[in-house]
């Protein structure tokens, strides 16, 4: 009898760690088999449950010095999202109820504040106001006080502290005036009360909180949509029987049936069938893509018109969608360097505002007109209420969240606030040629050969490993020619290949090969030169010592490259193509897509040096490449943009990843980043300016010059508007690139 369990292991840094854990597991009595995966941080153990328990295995791993945990029934992203939504809805309902009560009390308090008009005794009116305000303070505004107190105990102060102090002071003063009105009158003072502002401040701040909570929910809309894409079930064929199972139970290797109109349950390979698949939700590519046997498909994409049989190749957290979600989550948790400024200010903001409020009170008390103590109190309360630390705290993170989410919708993964900020600063875009500007798959463009000569050439190429060989074989297959293996084969480096196929002597190669074998190809000369000038490589073929014709091979430019380059140039970016190819081919490709500046004949290992050289000229460089061969150059660049190759994306390399395999994502990424930074600067500017102007006015600096004094209720309205407007400004990033 045997059971299997998987344990998550933390703290492993190298292969030595994982093998040490594996050894100690294997030496444990009752363990039949153990394997420890360093990359995923999991140990999978087959054990005899009568000899050892999973918890015992956890202890074994911990004894080796690593962290180990049995997987808690891990909440899925959907469940977490549901819990988050449920909490938010509960909060919204609660806020709405409190707001309603406060507004009703607020209207009543306005009426009661004019006792003369109602013809009631002022003392009775004060008591009525006290009774009206009590539920607002004790129930609707209760959380301001309890949260302020909790923060205070931790030596922290936030917006709640300011609200609690402001309303608390006004309410306490008014309550004293109400209860002790005889004593106040005996001292020759007129009892003044400020219940009305207390109620309105609480009502307005609640309204602000309500709007803020709703808007904050929207900042995570993009990741919500991504999580929502996950299909719930898959139709699995098991021993010839089809059944619907939850997606979590699909294993690698399972055969799945995807009917038209359904989402593909997980990443896989098409076994048979043919259909258009809409991948726009992950790649941003609007055109559906044809998928047939052998093609890779991505989970969560939409199968349009045909039925597909798909073999699952990746499941669970290894799928493209799961990796996108986790990258976007991590990006949204990161900070943009520009936030440091806001952080530094908001860390000291509230205590400083409290100090200013106290100073305001003292100055009004000492120098203000009579009744000085009343003016002092009102001005101090107004200072506390108008100050808005929230607007500053929200300025950067909300914009980073919305922008990275919007990027993901466009198929552009920006790996965090840092990457976002640097991408916005880019002034030079360096494009790798092969596989970035071009498709990276050489193919035959032009054939001037009869079928027999093509068949012989392709048959000979079957033994060649040159990338050109594959293109020639594909071209012959496309014409339905049947190939056989050559009898003899010789590759002549830099020239071509020579051999015998079915008793005939065949040569495939360049001009050098032909003249080397003394074959006269003069009549193809001019054509060959023209082809080369157009960026293609001419290949000559000779059979039995006589020239048979030529074909040309080129790595075609991606259809979207020219539009992408045009887009980048319109954004006044310098576009440079960097390639190892020879200058003539490189220049003609560059001409096709509209690039003026080419750096050619750079071997892969020197691309990094070229990027460095550009940076030394003071440029901020974005390097766009495939993420595998170009990894060092991507790392050197200020922004490394890894471009996807179909569905298999090296997503973790580069600070930006384009899921879609074309260059249109580059202008998108830079546009999103530039817009985000513009919005962040606006947010920070307004948040600062608001406080810098609002607080002195509230304190009354304009008063000696005949300027206005703000009322506390007006201050509360201004504060609510300021924090909501910052979020709304960030939400503008949800639209457009």
């Amino acid at each position: 009898m045997s059971e299997t369990c998987s344990i998550s292991v933390s703290g492993m840094t190298c292969a030595a760690c994982s093998s040490r854990i594996q050894r100690s597991l294997e030496q444990t009595p009752g363990v039949k088999d153990a394997s420890v995966n360093l990359m995923t941080g999991t140990a999978t153990v087959a054990f005899d449950p009568t000899a050892v328990t999973p918890n015992g295995l956890v202890d074994v791993i911990r004894d080796t010095g690593y962290g180990a945990e049995l997987p808690s029934p891990d909440a899925t992203p959907e469940e977490l999202l549901e819990a988050q939504d449920a909490e938010r809805n509960a909060e919204l309902t609660d806020l709405r109820r409190k707001l309603l009560v406060s507004v009703v009390a607020g209207v009543a308090s306005v009426v009661l504040s004019m006792p003369g008009m109602l013809g009631i005794d002022p003392s009775t009116a004060r008591w009525a106001l006290l009774l009206l305000t009590l539920p607002v303070v004790l129930w609707a505004g209760r959380h301001f006080y309890s949260r302020a107190w909790a923060a205070f105990r931790h030596h922290a102060a936030d917006m709640n502290t300011l609200i609690a102090l402001g309303t608390g002071a006004a309410f306490g003063f008014s309550a004293f005036m109400t209860v002790a009105d005889d004593w106040v009158a005996a001292h020759g003072l007129e009892p003044h009360v400020y219940y009305e502002p207390v109620v309105w401040i609480i009502a307005l701040v609640l309204l602000g909180n309500l709007l803020e909570a709703r808007a904050k929910g929207r900042t995570s809309g993009a990741i919500r949509r991504l999580i929502g894409l996950r299909p719930a079930t898959a139709r699995v064929v098991h021993e010839g029987v089809e059944s619907d199972v939850p997606v979590d139970r699909v294993r690698v290797g399972d055969l799945l049936i995807v009917r038209p109109g359904e989402r593909i349950p997980t990443d896989g390979e098409v076994i048979d069938g043919r259909s258009f698949v809409d991948e726009s939700m992950l790649t941003g590519e609007p055109e559906p893509v044809v998928k047939e046997a052998g093609a890779a498909v991505v989970g969560a994409t939409l199968n349009r018109n045909g039925a597909l049989r798909v073999r699952a190749t990746r499941v669970g957290r290894d799928t493209v969608l799961a990796r996108i979600i986790s990258l976007v989550r991590a990006a949204q948790g990161s900070k943009a360097p520009i936030q440091r400024l806001a952080d530094r200010v908001s860390a000291v903001f509230v205590p400083i505002v409290i100090s200013i409020a106290i100073a305001t009170f003292v100055v009004w008390y000492d120098f203000g007109p009579e009744p000085a103590y009343l003016r002092a109190l009102v001005s101090a309360v107004t200072v506390l209420i108008i100050a808005c630390p929230c607007a500053m705290g929200l300025a950067v993170p909300t914009a980073v969240m919305v922008a990275t989410g919007r990027g993901a919708e466009l198929g552009v993964l920006i790996k965090g606030g840092d990457a976002l900020q640097r991408t916005a600063e880019v002034d030079t875009v360096v494009l790798d040629k092969t596989g970035t500007v071009t498709q990276g798959r050489p193919s035959v463009q032009h054939i001037e050969l009869d079928d027999e000569a093509l068949r012989l050439a392709a048959s000979l190429e079957r033994f060649s490993e040159h990338p050109i060989a594959e293109a020639i074989i594909d071209a012959a297959r496309a014409r339905g020619l049947s190939l056989n293996d050559p009898d003899t084969f010789e590759a002549i480096p830099g020239k071509g290949v020579v051999g015998r196929v079915g008793g005939r002597q065949v040569l495939v190669g360049n001009r050098g090969l032909m003249s080397y074998r003394a074959i006269d190809t003069t009549r193809f000369e001019q054509q060959a030169a023209e082809l080369a000038a157009n960026g293609a490589t001419p290949v000559l073929v000779a059979v039995d010592g006589r020239p048979a014709g030529l074909l040309s091979i080129a790595d075609p430019v991606k259809p979207t490259s020219a539009a992408a380059v045009e887009g980048l140039r319109r954004m006044s970016l310098d576009v440079i193509m960097l390639t190892g190819d020879d200058e003539r081919t490189a220049k003609s490709v560059a001409r096709l897509v509209g690039i003026d500046h080419v750096i050619a004949e750079v071997p892969p290992d020197r691309k990094l040096e070229e990027v460095k050289r550009l940076q030394q000229d003071g440029r901020v460089v974005a390097m766009v490449g495939d993420g595998l061969n170009d990894a060092p150059a991507l790392a050197q660049a200020d922004v490394g943009i890894a471009i996807g190759t179909g569905t298999d994306v090296a997503m973790e390399t580069g600070s930006v990843t384009l899921i879609r395999g074309d260059l249109l994502g580059v202008p998108d990424a830079i546009t999103v980043a530039r817009r985000a930074m513009r919005i962040i600067r606006q947010n920070l500017f307004w948040a600062f300016i608001y406080n810098v102007i609002g607080i002195p006015i509230a304190a009354g600096v304009l008063y000696p010059f005949g300027g206005p004094l703000l009322t506390p209720a007006l201050a509360a309205a201004a504060m609510a508007v300021s924090s909501v407007s910052v979020i709304s400004n960030s939400l503008r990033l949800r639209k457009g690139p």
């Binding site: 709640n160 948790g333 806001a342 205590p351």
Partner: protein
């Protein structure tokens, strides 16, 4: 100046001094994460603030912070530790474990989703 003005001025100045001392200079509660089973653990109560707000851990050993959230305010519904790329939702009334690996000595901030409520992780050699 009248005696009452002098009195108010003196009390006001003292209050300003106290506010600045209390929020900026008074000692914050800190806790050293408890090691055991290869994991350093610390429990943090989330109630409109983090208690303790400062956690000391050792470098090179995995850390698990157990956030127990009790405040039901959307302000603290997420905890973010930017230096470790963590943004985690903390369901109210539950304990949520957040794991990470501090590789080198240094200080790392953690904060609520909107950066208003803060704490610090100090990594010692």
């Amino acid at each position: 100046m009248t005696p009452s003005e002098l009195f108010v001025t003196a009390v006001g100045l003292a209050a300003i001094a106290w506010v600045n001392w209390y929020f900026f200079f008074a000692r914050r509660s800190s806790v050293v994460a408890q090691a055991g089973g290869g994991l350093q653990r610390a429990r943090i109560e989330v109630d409109n603030g983090y208690a303790p707000a400062v956690v000391r851990v050792r470098a090179g050993q995995p850390v698990r912070l157990e956030f127990h959230r009790v405040d039901g305010s959307s302000c603290t519904e997420e905890v973010v530790i930017p230096d470790f790329g963590i943004r985690r939702f903390l369901p109210n009334g539950q304990t949520t474990a957040v794991d990470f690996m501090p590789r080198a000595a240094g200080a790392h901030d953690f904060a609520c989703g909107m950066g208003m409520v803060r704490g610090k992780i100090i990594v010692d050699e």
